[in-house]
């Protein structure tokens, strides 16, 4: 059912090019603290989930995918583009949604914040206005376009953060624990939004329900990929291990 809605959205919008991300022998340290060890894998699926305990390396892994973190060793290639040397092109392809939307919203009002990324891309004013209207309407924020961002609810802020990324039309979106700060109703709302995206996604989360219908799940443990496969088996393995 969930896959069906997304597939319909893709068919309606015209399929976006699929993004392939490859990690080759990637290790990363913050100072003396090693957080990832020799990770080698390729992400080509439309829906990839990432789970693991706090400190397991999954957020660093997510940040590697669009060059927010450049690996200490090894390389990350997005459609063959190395994040170390082709950062801007990589970031045009891969958007990033943070756990805390307050840290991602940089302008005082809703519409101005959504427009921010488009201005950085050099999109002309008419096109910016059209795209901002589209995305605000799609995510139910049109009535809040001139409202101060800090007065939105937690769920609305996360929707605004997502809108600010999607308006830039990336091919893949990485979500780093997008529902951690939200209540159940808003968690379900964000899950629905992710589900209906035409873009490929990588979702880092502790909410395993969010990964229903996904193509692949990675489990991180002590900076390594401890399990990698279809969601049903991989999540069962993860839950068994926790218990």
């Amino acid at each position: 059912m969930r896959w069906g809605r997304r597939a319909a959205a893709v068919a309606e919008a015209g399929a976006l090019p699929r993004t392939s991300i490859e990690l080759r022998d990637v290790s990363h340290s913050y100072g003396d603290r090693a957080v990832l060890h020799d990770v080698t894998l390729r992400l080509g699926e439309a829906r990839v989930g990432v789970v693991g305990a706090n400190g397991s390396g999954k957020s660093t892994f997510a940040r590697l995918l669009n060059g927010l973190v450049i690996p200490s060793a090894g390389s990350v290639l997005v459609d063959g583009l190395d994040t170390r040397t082709r950062l801007r092109e990589v970031r045009r392809r891969v958007g990033f949604v943070f756990q805390d939307p307050d840290a991602q919203i940089v302008h005082p009002t809703v519409a101005e914040d959504v427009e921010f990324g488009l201005t950085n891309l050099g999109v002309d004013a008419d096109e910016r206005a059209r795209r901002v209207d589209d995305v605000l309407t799609r995510y139910g924020l049109a009535g809040h376009r001139d409202h101060p961002a800090h007065l939105l609810s937690g769920g609305q802020k996360q929707l605004l953060a997502i809108a600010g990324v999607l308006v830039m039309r990336p091919q893949r979106v990485v979500f780093d624990e997008p529902t951690t700060l939200l209540d159940l109703a808003n968690t379900r709302r964000i899950a629905r939004v992710i589900d209906e995206l035409e873009q490929d996604v990588v979702v880092v989360t502790h909410h395993l329900d969010l990964l229903t219908g996904f193509d692949r799940v990675l489990v991180f443990e002590d900076g390594r990929v401890a399990a990698d496969g279809a969601p049903a088996e991989t999540l069962r393995w993860y839950v068994d291990r926790l218990s």
């Binding site: 913050y30 100072g31 603290r33 957080v35 957020s59 660093t60 940040r63 669009n66 060059g67 927010l68 973190v69 450049i70 690996p71 200490s72 170390r84 040397t85 950062l87 801007r88 970031r91 045009r92 958007g95 990033f96 943070f98 805390d100 307050d102 840290a103 991602q104 919203i105 940089v106 302008h107 005082p108 009002t109 101005e112 914040d113 427009e115 921010f116 990324g117 950085n120 891309l121 001139d146 101060p148 961002a149 800090h150 600010g164 990324v165 830039m168 780093d176």
Partner: protein
Amino acid sequence: MTLALYVPVASPVHRAPAGLKLALLAGLGAGLFLVPDLAVVLGALAAVLGIGLGVARLPVRALVAQVRPVWPWLAVLLAFHLVVTDWHTGTLAVARLLTLVLAAAVVTATTRVTALVAVVEWLVRPLAVVGVRPARVGLVIAMTLRFVPLIAERAQRIREAQAARGATGMRLGMLVPLLVQVLRLAATLGEALDARGADAPASPARRRTGAAAP
């Protein structure tokens, strides 16, 4: 705390160019202090109220909200003049400041932040020859307007958390946790700016060793 004050209304004041409104505000500020005539100042006050409430059709509460924080200072100023000078000088000083506060409130309530920022960017454009990047200056102003209420909110949460554990009147005691939160916020914000295309040309060497652990 309501620093983002724009009140969307279709009015001639809203449609007026931001640069013109800021220039008139600056002119009003200079004029009020150059003309020490209470009748003129009260006339300017009435004109500002007329423009704000009548032409721009702003709600009264939008203007009251801006005046409320300065009421105590105006009262202190008036009392000071009543003691040191006379009621006429005191009334003149209070009327000047009140007129300016209200005029600034009308400008910010009728002008989008992006329009105000564009004016500032235009004003600092000549400084580009000495390396100043106007877009960066504009971004700093926009982010200041965005983050002042957010940081005030975080400070309030820390105060509540401390109060919940029996601490009272620990104004200084909240500085360290607030500073820690602001620094973490700043680290993530830097990443968010990069992710949304506001980054300077890539400097992988800095990132490789300098990034904070998420």
